[in-house]
């Protein structure tokens, strides 16, 4: 099967989900891959749309390294700060910024959720058709228990006493969240980058609970180069004197410098050579000639410095360590003889999407997944989307992704209602 769709979807006219409230649930004990057990695990999540009476329209969206549960619309707290009140109703939109330059917006500006162009009424993950669930991952720093949370055993933040978690641990916590919400089965699980790893891990661990798996801009295991980039980011954080062995919460200082460097490295890997050159070239910022001093001169330097600084205002350095470690450990094959063995006889339908200029998780790695799924007899669709935006394309190319995801989801729902499962040949029974 090769999905097609309308690439001309008018993205500016489809609706916003408006103001969103976050929820939390607490789990008494969570057993981890490391053998450790976490107690009193809080999970923050958001839901959008309405669950069907048959509970057959639930889509779990999984976020990437720096994401959170806030997938679309505006957080209630942010909206209130920007002047919203409940009388305005949920379909509020914030006032437009005074300037079109996002760099000029103050960092406290109200921003919509991380996948807002993809999630909302009439959008790809259509909140008028699907019930969307998104939770901050285990180890995160945005409402779910992580290294910045209070360790019940000590009464102080965990820091590096927090156990190292895996992608599978994240998925297991999500499964327990769904149990609590009374959701037995997902229509689909979807995500990009680290979110795509979670989607794939869902299909592996809970094949009977997943109708469809949408894995975008992701991989089944990191190669040496991707591990190397993660390790340099960690080295920048761990070596920052303000890191203080991870106990910086008590010091009043944070390892801002190390975290900013880590984020700058990350940003280079999220963009492509082509898109960076198109966006910044060799242009100087605010000057015509070289300064012959060590100041920010090139536009690209200014962009990276801004991204690094902004990140330190919202993200915890310890969580950065834990997220990158979880990705490094991720190996979908695990102890199986081959990746195909993992998915032999899988009832899950797969859609794998890569981007032509993504050099962090290049297309060949997606093709390895597709080849393994095909060899396993699983139903799989694959699209490589031509885009100059590199790895970040999963955030920046809503229309192109819509063309493949929208019909795939619709088809999965029809198949789910009919109770049909793809046979090994890939045809519906």
């Amino acid at each position: 099967m090769s999905a097609t769709g309308d690439r001309e979807t008018p993205w500016d006219v489809v609706g916003s989900v408006g103001v969103i409230g976050a929820h939390t649930l607490t789990f008494e004990d969570v057993a981890l891959a490391s053998g450790e057990v976490l107690s009193q695990v809080v999970v923050e999540y958001e839901t959008l749309g309405t669950m069907s009476p048959e509970r057959d329209n639930v889509v779990l969206l999984c976020h990437a390294l720096s994401g959170d549960a806030h997938v679309a619309g505006w957080r209630e707290s942010d909206a209130r700060a920007a002047g919203w009140s409940p009388e305005d109703g949920p379909r509020w939109s914030p006032p437009a910024p005074a300037t079109g330059d996002p760099d000029a917006a103050p960092s406290s500006a109200v921003r919509p959720g991380w996948w807002d162009p993809m999630v909302g009424p009439g959008k790809t993950f259509d909140t008028e058709r699907y019930f969307i669930v998104c939770a901050n991952v285990l180890g995160g720093c945005s409402g779910t228990t992580g290294p910045s949370s209070i360790n019940p055993a000590s009464g102080e933040p965990f820091g590096l006493d927090f156990p190292v978690v895996t992608i599978e641990d994240m998925v297991d916590v999500q499964a327990r969240l769904l149990d609590e919400l009374g959701i037995e089965r997902l229509l689909a699980v979807a995500g990009g980058s680290m979110g795509g790893m979670q989607a794939l891990a869902w299909a592996k661990r809970y094949p009977e609970r997943v109708g469809a798996c949408i894995a975008i801009a992701t991989t089944w295991r990191l190669g040496a180069q991707a591990i190397a980039f993660n390790e340099v980011g960690r080295a920048a954080i761990l070596g920052d004197p303000a890191f203080a062995g991870g106990r910086y919460y008590e010091t009043g200082a944070t390892p801002r410098h190390g975290l900013a460097v880590a984020r700058m490295i990350g940003h280079i890997t999220y963009l492509s050579d082509e898109s960076m050159h198109e966006k910044f070239g060799r242009r100087l910022r605010g000057r015509d000639e070289f300064a012959f001093r060590f100041v920010t001169e090139f536009e690209v330097e200014s962009y990276l410095a801004y991204q690094g600084k902004r990140f330190t205002e919202r993200f915890d350095a310890n969580t950065y360590l834990y997220m990158t470690k979880a990705m490094d450990y991720f190996d979908l094959c695990g102890d199986a003889g081959s990746l195909a063995d993992v998915f032999r006889g899988s009832p899950v339908r797969f859609l794998v999407i890569s981007f032509s200029s993504d050099w962090l998780f290049p297309t060949y790695q997606s093709k390895e997944i597709v080849a393994a799924l095909s060899a396993a007899g699983a139903e799989v669709s694959f699209a490589e989307i031509r885009s100059p935006y590199g790895h970040d394309a999963f955030l920046l190319e809503p229309a192109a992704q819509h063309a493949f995801i929208e019909p795939f989801l619709a088809q999965a729902r029809v198949a789910g209602r009919a109770g049909a499962r793809p046979t090994k040949g890939g045809e519906l029974e």
Copy 2:
């Protein structure tokens, strides 16, 4: 012209240049592109082989970011420390290390010069045929005046008071060095990476003094991605508290951490995804299972940590800043309307070599140089060498480079002796 050659050269039997002594020269005043003037500039250089009576066999080799004047053989001081004495003669080789694992060798082990596989008797830059000159660049930290040198005006190390230098400044100092050595004209100038930029700048600034230019794994200007990687490295150094505004020489501490992170980033860009995966894969070092702690686990982490640490033992953090800035500023086109305009009517013969897996200075950038030279009517040969080793291939692929460089050099010498110059059409007169 498309050069060919013997790729089966037996690299293990060609000779070493043996023990080498370094020399220095001092220049009273050096005017820089920035408008500043440096006084008392010391230049450290080495020479190998014998100058011909006609002085027509001089080849200038230009080093890359972390290189120095020591291009081949063993430094006399290192050799003495390893037990060599003058009675042993210059054709000494150090005792073999106890183990074949270079990581196991102590960092004080005697190592040959940075391009030893390419330079020596019977090698590509054959010291029995050519007189080789190699000098540490201006701004360096290996004998030539740089930010770690004493500022005559203050009696203390320059630090960031050292003026920002350009690739063209480096080349101008090399030209004055050749003046002092009585060398009016070079048979060839050659280098890889930043050394290739110098070679190209030589051809632009001193076309009448250069017979041939060999530019390897290099570019005519850095793109936004390469500037970005340099900037993150600089950010790591500048933000290290031990950097102390560049005045760390007096503190007893050095910004080891920042410099190591910068070097780790650099190393990732010097290798290819393919070669990293081949060399390290996802193998763990000294363990079978994940540690679930933030320790060095993967082989690739161990490699990067080792490279970062070793670099801090031999390289000055300020010089790292100045070298990367010089590269960022480098733009061979400059104020000319096009790169072709720069070389119109150039009498220099060019050989441009790129490597298929070099993603720091990709082949397309070399092709841009070649296209401009062709459009300018200059004599140019081009080879893209298939190699998995990424940017570092200019250090790791001696045989493949030999196949193109050896005949190119021989031909340049014949042409030089005949006094022939290529016409605009590219044919010899």
